[in-house]
Amino acid sequence: MIETREPTGYRQRQRRKLTFARLSFYTFLALIAVAWAYIFVEGDSGFTLLLEGRTWDNAGKFLTRLAGAGQDERPAFLQPEQWWATGRLAYNTLAMSVLAIGIAGFGAFLTFIFAARNISSGSLGGTPSRLGAAVYYFLRILYAFTRAVPELVWAMLIVFFLSPGILPGALALGVHNLGIMGRLAAEVVEDMDPAPARAMRASGAGIFQIFLYAILPQTLPHFITYLLYRWEVVIRTTVVVGFVSAGGLGLEMRLNLSFFHYDQVTLLILWYLLLVTGVDFLSAWMRKMARFE
């Protein structure tokens, strides 16, 4: 009789691995249960509001005011001159998003190569050095920190010393995205095919030649693709950063909400959606250009 026993070590390892994933899953479920319980117990969760008629009345009123009903003049989003007036804000918002991507792109482009492990360890070219390793860890920590602090918090900090305008918003978005772009680009370098770089090194090329002719051609299309994807995210976030740093659609939206000019808010949201859709299309078109053959 042929024994069809699986190797026991493998089985056991598999079972242990599964229990870690499963244990994590149960822990996560328990955390969720505790979180919901906490939200209900801790204070007014707002869920009781849902049972009151008043809440729904208010919400309905809010929606009708957004739709521009119940006011004497024509709602703002039906007046061409209002579209023109807020168009300037949309233009600024677009400029802010492009500037932010520019800052993130240049910052990441100048540094990502030193944040790749295979470069700093010298496995692609050059010699491994203490300095290279130190720069590697410094950049990785810098990326992690700029990435972990949300855009809005960066904006709150930056408006402390920069004059209002599109620059503080763009800087806040740029710094946050620098961390994201840097990490993504460095990982692309780590995952790339080392053969061209090694071949160049073997034939005596210097580190800059290797960078220009072996690393850049492989990584640049990925880099630009990621950058364009981030642009789609950034344009959605410009509004939020505009809430705190003056400039763009965000500030105007917040002001109009506090003045109860809800038809204006609708107009701004329409502009926002137009920008978001437009950038999505532009980015898709440009990503097609960046693809390699």
Partner: protein
């Protein structure tokens, strides 16, 4: 030899376009006026120097801990909501529920994709501002404001994962007489569970950051405390709070990395 691309599709044109766009965006900055506030440089320096050391007094660490848990609980609650809304919509959007030649398929897929796309295109903070105006300031508003856009993102990615499963096992199931429902439960879902789980975990990480900034509309949590400390110019407290946020995100990142690894290896 590769065929030459038309100018409008060439990578060089793209590089020019991108550089031109950035140059254009620089014109939007008011260069004529001073870029810094009066005394702005000094407050930037104060802010930096306050890192040495951050405020580590026990009383403030307790505040930090409370704020962190607040943020975490909002993130956990909203990710539950996002999965509850996003998963059914994602399954519908993937078209896995109906047989490939059903007439219901296209309308079902398109309508669920449209819903997912709409909730996704509005940023969570814009949702929060609108919801607070509509139903008032409460954790509920925060959870819904975070849950909706995250449901849109999760649903779209779930749909993509479900569509990308290899066809052969599904064809085998179908030819053995399985319904679309059975193909989904016993074919597609088990095949992409690791992807689904690890992506949800990644989004949970993101939702912690998002929950922290929701405080901007008045929800308590890390962002709220940051705002308070900034208002009082207590920069060393701001640093403590930022480091706390960093620590939570790093912890969840580490955890999700371990889970992903163990799911992939098993």
């Amino acid at each position: 030899m590769r065929p030459a691309r038309p100018l409008l599709e060439s990578p060089h044109f793209l590089s020019l376009l991108l550089l031109g766009a950035v140059a254009w965006s620089l014109t939007g900055v008011a260069w004529g006026e001073p870029l810094l506030h009066t005394g702005g440089g000094d407050s930037a320096l104060d802010m930096l120097l306050a890192l040495f050391p951050p405020d580590l007094s026990p009383a403030f660490l307790l505040v930090c801990l409370q704020a962190a848990w607040h943020t975490l609980s909002i993130a956990l609650a909203s990710i539950t909501l996002a999965v509850l809304i996003g998963f059914p919509l994602g399954v519908m959007a993937s078209g896995a529920l109906v047989s490939p030649d059903s007439r219901l398929r296209a309308p079902l897929m398109l309508s669920s994709r449209f819903v997912l796309g709409t909730v996704r295109s509005i940023h969570e903070l814009v949702w929060a501002v609108l919801l607070v105006a509509a139903i008032g300031l409460s954790p509920l508003a925060a959870i819904v404001a975070l849950g909706l856009p995250y449901a849109g993102i999760l649903g779209r990615i779930y749909a993509e994962f479900l569509e990308d499963t290899p066809e052969e096992p599904l064809t085998a199931l179908r030819s053995a007489g399985a319904s679309s429902w059975q193909t989904l439960v016993f074919g597609r879902l088990p095949m992409c569970t690791p992807d689904l789980v690890s992506y949800t975990f990644y989004r949970f990480e993101c939702s912690i950051r998002s929950a922290a900034i929701l405080s901007f509309v008045g929800i308590r949590g890390i962002g709220y405390e940051i705002q308070l400390s900034l208002g009082d110019l207590l920069f060393s407290q701001v640093w403590t709070l930022l480091l706390a946020l960093l620590a939570i995100v790093a912890l969840v990142d580490f955890w999700s990395g371990r889970v992903r690894q163990s799911l992939l290896e098993s």
